[in-house]
Symmetry: C2
Amino acid sequence: MPIMIKHRAIRDALLGRIVSGEWAPGRVIPGEVDLAREFGCTRATVARALRELVAAGLVERRRRGGTRVLGRSGRDAVVTIPIVREEIEAAGHAYGYERLTVREADPPEPIRQAFGLRPGAAAVHVACLHRADGRPAQVEDRWINAAAVPAVRTQDFRTVSPNEWLVRAVPYTRARHEFRAERPTDRLRGLLDLAPDEWVFVVERRTWREDAGITVAHLYNPADRFRITTRDPVAFGVDPGAG
Amino acid sequence: MPIMIKHRAIRDALLGRIVSGEWAPGRVIPGEVDLAREFGCTRATVARALRELVAAGLVERRRRGGTRVLGRSGRDAVVTIPIVREEIEAAGHAYGYERLTVREADPPEPIRQAFGLRPGAAAVHVACLHRADGRPAQVEDRWINAAAVPAVRTQDFRTVSPNEWLVRAVPYTRARHEFRAERPTDRLRGLLDLAPDEWVFVVERRTWREDAGITVAHLYNPADRFRITTRDPVAFGVDPGAG
DNA sequence: AGCCATTTGTTCGTATGTATG
DNA sequence: TCATACATACGAACAAATGGC
């Protein structure tokens, strides 16, 4: 049993009063000096505990106004974007990778806009197929901004998937994702071996480095065997470790 | 122009060195005392800046081992679970609500397990339909644990949707979501006025209070006109406010 | 509108504990 | 073993914002 870490104990004690309803949303809780006296520590320690509750979105603080409990609209959640290779191997299946096509070309209009490229500027397009025990699991369709990532021209992606190459080679500063379901094209239906009426679950991933677009990827998954799950954003609710 | 806040300035300076690639993943960055000397402050201030980078998942710290830059697998993102009424009104449509059924009954096995209920224990089931300008937008199918939320028996949900009633009346401590696409039942196809081959995008939401399950909801959306988007978890990358 | 006490926000310097290479 | 570097905490001081008189 680890010894008690004060700021964490305080944070958890306050958390308990909030989730138990003892301190209802809207209520102003005692000030730092009062809490410091109650818990037998200095203001700085209480402040640190409160700062974590702010980061978790549970309370709001204002000078002079004190610390107020927020109502949890409770709509924020954290998703871990799955990496198909890891998912397949974690499930105990054999991972298979096959590059379908790679070419340098003029990207279509929506992609060009995402990259902020002028017409005629070049980009690299890669399509590939990921398998689990030989069965198609995901089609990856990706554009990479050749201006932002010159090294992409030297890659043929024959054995390394663009996904894995990019995370290693190219740092990015922003990412955005979109989840949706789509009617598959005939090509997708064939590649993924879909049931006649089956749709695809699409994960669209875009990354930027500062303001320059790096890549736009469409990850097509058979909707019958794909899902995305979330977890709570308040990490310390379940894991007190990350302080 | 706000005056410089040291720990924030330091945090951003370090962030810049990381995202620019000057400090590549795997590299051990200078220690707290060195950074404190460089930035002209005390160790505590540097430590606070570094703590935020840890929280953001950009670096890893170990006693004696120092602070190491992490490769961004970059898979964490934040989703805001959409509330159908807000989405519809934000889009400038008229929101319509219709309760379909409400009854107290024995929940099916998967729901019972989620609630941790013994067979025979009662729960309330509600089904309702949300509309945008009269057009069906979402079917909400929900079980509520009557043991954990006794007040649910007094509600008929004729005018207030279970969603909005719950967020007001029942605090929760944990939530989990799952996104997937499904072949609709005939009933759903009719209710949502789906195209003949159209699938539904399902948001499954479960909430708990401590260890007691509160509710399991299935939100069925026409896949043709529904999507979920994410944003970056590193708040200070775009908004320096949340320190 | 303006003053002012209150409360949070930031930083300092110091001290000591703890994991670890 | 032991020096190292992070981790926690203290007490003090001043700055900045702001709600209420």
